[in-house]
Each structure stands twice: as C-alpha cells, then as structure tokens.
C-alpha cells in the first residue's frame, strides 16, 4: 500500500491575453480564469494510478485561498480520495514558504499516524516558474527527490521513475519515502465525469490554517515586456502565395538546392 500526496497550485490560464493588477503585484486573471499547470494535471493522474495499483490513498493538497477549492474539487472528481487546503495568501508565499507549509502539514499528519510514501508536485508552476518547491520540500522532510519525471511505477519500497535527459530517457530507482516533481509527457490526464464530480462534492476538504510565517517572494513588481509593434509582412493569400514562400526560403538560405 502506497499513500500518495499530490500538491497542486491554482494558476491563471495562459491561453488568453495577460493583464496585470493596478499595483503590478499580481496577474489580473478575472477575465481569463484559473486552472492547474499541465505538469500538475499529470501529477494528479499519476497519484491516482499509484494509489489504485497499491490499494493506497491519494490525497490532494494545495496551499492557497478558498478559491483554490475549485482546483481541489477537480482533483477529487478525477479520483483523488482525500483533500487538504492549507489556507494562506498565495501572493505572500515564496517557493521556500510553500515547501515549509507543506512539510509541516506532512509532519503533523505523520505524527497523527498518516504517512505519505510518495509526494508528487509539478516540476514548475505555470505562473511563477520557480523550479524549486519539490526540492525544498524534500530537504525539509529529509527525503530524496527527483525532478523532471514523466512516469513512475512502484516496485516494493522503490519507485522506478523515468524522465527526459540530455542523452535519452533517464531511469532512476529511488527508495521510499520520496518527493518527485512531475513533468508533462509520460501520462495522459483524465477528465472528470459527472458521477466523479458528484462524488467529489461529498468528500470533505480538510482545511487547516498555514502553520508558518512566510518569508516572502522577493517580488518587487511585475512588468509586461514592451509590446513589439507588428512587423509582419504578408506574403499573400491562399495557394497563390506559394512562390513567394519558396522565394523567402531560398533568400533565408533554408533551401540551397
């Protein structure tokens, strides 16, 4: 039996146009909405699969405001069996703070008899892109850690994890308990069904207030890169533009024959 915790973060959608708040301290996502990072969608799916294969539990956890309940419910709807909301102002929490807050919850639960053999996180958040919460969490808990992992299978007390390396797929065999940062690419996240959503509504979300005093993010302000004026040269419309395209390819030296 392997108990899995998967940590997720509510982030602004990145498909629409981005606006900043008036004080330039945050993204104004009122018009585009919120989602999960795609790495974390894969982490949720993996957590469910590992727990199912080993008759364990899959617990979803987030550090954030009550609004993040939306993302937690989605994880429950696709099959997570329990949920924790660590209530905190996400804007005040840097990556080291998030790691500390998760670590304290994990320790408190372990002291109360519930342990997590595998803790999954996303490799990097779609918004802040810090690349470090998983590693800091592992150090806080004194566990080994892997990042950039696409698939994980259990073999007794060992996790066999695979991820993309500079020369091919790298294989790791790492003893539990472990922290693993998941990267999109090895697993297809599932989408919630209606019965799944109904069931998710009945699962209680254990809400705890954050046990730490955050050190902060170091953010001075956000800036939008200067808007580049469009310099596009339209070569033509439809198939009649083909000779102009080919001429361009020759001019750029892409075709030399």
């Amino acid at each position: 039996m392997v108990n899995v915790m998967v940590c997720i973060k509510r982030v602004p959608e990145t498909s629409g146009q981005i606006l900043l708040s008036d004080d330039a301290q945050s993204i104004d996502a009122r018009h585009v909405g919120y989602t999960l990072s795609s790495h974390e969608e894969c982490a949720v799916e993996l957590a469910i699969q590992i727990a199912k294969a080993t008759d364990g539990e899959s617990t979803v956890l987030t550090v954030g405001s009550q609004d993040a309940v939306e993302q937690v419910r989605n994880a429950l709807a696709v099959g997570c069996s329990a949920a924790v909301l660590v209530e905190a102002d996400p804007a005040a929490y840097g990556p080291a703070d998030v790691a500390q807050a998760i670590a304290q919850v994990v320790r408190a639960r372990e002291a109360a008899g519930t342990s997590y053999d595998v803790i999954l996180v996303g490799n990097d958040a779609a918004d802040t892109g810090d690349f470090q919460v998983g590693v800091r969490l592992a150090y806080a808990l004194g566990r080994p850690v892997l990042t950039g992992i696409s698939t994980v299978e259990m073999s007794g007390d060992t996790a066999i994890a695979k991820g993309k390396g500079p020369e091919g797929t790298e294989v790791f065999e790492i003893p539990l308990p472990v922290v693993i940062a998941i990267q999109e690419g090895g697993i297809e996240p599932r989408y919630p069904s209606i019965p799944g959503r109904m069931k998710a509504k009945r699962i209680p979300i254990d809400t705890v207030s954050s046990p730490i005093e955050p050190a902060g993010t170091g953010r001075v302000r956000l800036e939008l890169p200067p808007a580049q004026p469009s310099v596009v040269e339209v070569l033509g419309e439809g198939p009649e533009a083909a000779p102009a395209v080919v001429e361009l390819l020759y001019r750029l030296g892409v075709v030399t024959k």
């Binding site: 990145t14 990097d124 800091r136 790298e170 999109e184 090895g186 198939p239 102009a244 390819l249």
Partner: protein, 332 residues
C-alpha cells in the same frame, strides 16, 4: 573581502555547451558591475583530458579567473544532489556572492538543491540584472509572457539564466585561468537519485526538434490526426523537424515529444513555419527563440500572425501542398 561570481558550466561530450557560454557571458556583466569581483567557473563530473583542454580554453576565452574542477568516483553517473555538493563546495572555496547556472532542466534542478542546502533564495530564468547590491533581477514568469523584478537579499544569491537571455560572446581580454582541483565528500544520500541507466525511446526523441534549423509547426488548424500529410512532406523537403502545439498533443493527434511550448520543447531554428497555430502564450514560450517566423493562418489577427515576421493568410491544407509543389519544381 573580495567576492566571486560562480558559474556552473555544463558540457556535452566535447565542449562547454552553448547555453553555458550564454550564462558565462551574462555572469561577466555581473562581475564587471561588482568592483573587485572575480569570475569563477565549475566543471563537474567525468571530464576526460580532451574535454578538459577544450573547456579550459573556452573558459579562458570567457575571461574566467578560476576554474574549479570536481572529479570524484561518485560523479560517474548524474545525480542532482551530488552535483549540488560540488557547487556548494565551489561556492565555499570561492566565497561566491552569486552562483549561476544555465536555465536547463539540469541547471534548474541542481540550483534548487544548492538554494535549499544554503537556505537562500533562488531566481529561475533570469534575463537581466537590475541593481547589483542588493541584487534585483528580472526573470521570466508566465512562460515568458511577464517579467518579474525580484530582489535577492540572501548570500549567495542563486540564479538560473534563461536560454537566449544574451548572445554568447568572448571576453574583451582572455585569461589564463587558475585551476583548482576541488576536494569534496559525497554522502550516500547524494547518490540515491542517480541515473541508473539511460534508454532510447520515443519519449525523449526531442533532440531532432531542439537542434533543427527548420521547424514546421502545426496546430489545431491541422484539423485531425490525418491532417499532417502535407506538413510532413514539407518537413521532409526542407530537412526539418515537425513541432506541434499543445492542442495537437492534447487531442492525441501527435505524440508529446513533438510538442513545442512552455511544457514541451523550446526550439531555436533559423525559420519556424507555424501552420494553423493561433499562438497562445504556452506555445509562444517554446518558439520565440526562432530567428524568423512565417505564420500560415486563416485568421489575420491571430497572435501568431501579428507577431510573425512573415505570413500567408489562408487554409494550410491549400497553401502547404502548393508550397510543396513549388519547392519540388524549383529543387528539380
């Protein structure tokens, strides 16, 4: 006390990587702006005599004052924790005020370990330095669509430098770096996360895309899994690689290793021909390193078109076959 700026240098089998040269170029500016600072670099892992000679000459060209070389039996296979042990040892040996690595997957991973061990802040994907003391950097967030000004008060400050933040360039004056054979002890726990073997498989077949001079991109406009024939033909004719948007992999039309974007591969071709791709931030994060972008799209106002250098307006299923035919005619 004089201080140092330390760069973790990545190598391939033969030489210092291009992204490491970018990071060294970036670090040199920081050295210049810190009076009396020295430029240090670190080479880790199995470094044979040829690689060592080439790397030292490249680092001399980068104006590095001291090169730390970490060689240890425990470094024969990669693990982020053991590489981090080398970085921490070099940071101590050089009294580094700032430690930098390229913003590659390994560079980011190793620096996260270093920052956790030294209990100091880390800024990922930095593109510029604002103020030097206290250090304020500008870094990419939201997949590069937004910049964050971030203050790092801890010492040493830990940074990764975003790809293409600067063009790699030689120093004004090359140096004769002093070489320090770094003494380090690895713990058993440093080796738990080491690579036990490397497999070749479809999952990682992205090398072609990363290094391609020509990338043909395809998005939702391909229409279905059967809509790629013309695009693949164009890819073949130009000797390029096919890259697709997240929509395409999400719908299962093409495998994930072909995905270009924030959660896929970042490409740097001479030309990117983006066909039927609207140009969401997620995708733009992966293709903005292209020298020239040609967009083929039905929507004249799509972000991919307005931000491209060249565009053809219309249906890719009509335009791409016509381009293929014209190419074949001219190539004979």
């Amino acid at each position: 006390m004089s201080s140092a700026v330390l760069v973790l240098v990545e190598t391939d089998a033969h030489r210092v990587t291009e992204t490491s040269l970018e990071t060294l170029t970036f670090a040199r500016d920081l050295v210049k702006r810190r009076d009396g600072a020295q430029s240090h670099a670190l080479l880790v892992g199995p470094v044979d005599a040829d690689l060592r000679a080439t790397a030292l000459s490249q680092l001399a060209d980068q104006g590095v004052d001291v090169v730390h070389v970490a060689q240890h039996d425990g470094l024969s296979a990669y693990s982020a924790a053991s590489w981090a042990t080398a970085v921490v040892a070099a940071a101590a040996a050089s009294s580094a005020a700032v430690v930098l690595a390229p913003g590659t997957p390994r560079g980011s991973e190793i620096m996260a370990h270093v920052a956790a061990r030294l209990d100091t802040a880390m800024a990922a994907n930095v593109v510029a330095v604002g103020e030097v003391d206290p250090l304020v950097v500008s870094r990419q967030v939201m997949g590069g669509a937004v910049l964050e000004l971030m203050r790092l008060t801890g010492r040493p400050a830990v940074l990764t430098v975003a790809g293409h933040a600067v063009e790699p360039a030689s120093a004004d004056h090359s140096t004769q770096p002093e070489v320090n054979e770094l003494q380090m002890d690895l713990l058993e726990t440093d080796l738990l996360g080491r690579v036990v073997r490397v497999e070749a498989s479809e999952l990682d077949d992205t090398a072609a895309l990363t290094g391609a001079r020509v990338v043909i991109g395809a998005g939702r406009g391909a229409g279905s899994a059967n809509g790629f024939d013309g695009l693949l033909e164009l890819t073949r004719l130009l000797g390029g690689a096919l890259g697709v948007s997240r929509v395409v992999t999400g719908l299962g039309w093409r495998p994930h290793h072909e995905q270009v974007g924030q959660t896929g591969t970042r490409i740097t071709p001479d030309i990117y021909i983006a066909c039927g791709i609207s140009g969401a931030i997620q995708h733009w994060a992966g293709c903005q390193g292209a020298k020239t972008i040609l967009a083929i799209n039905t929507d004249r106002d799509a972000p991919m078109v307005t931000r491209a250098h060249y565009a053809v307006i219309g249906d890719l299923h009509e335009i791409v076959p016509a381009v293929n035919e014209e190419l074949q005619r001219r190539m004979g």
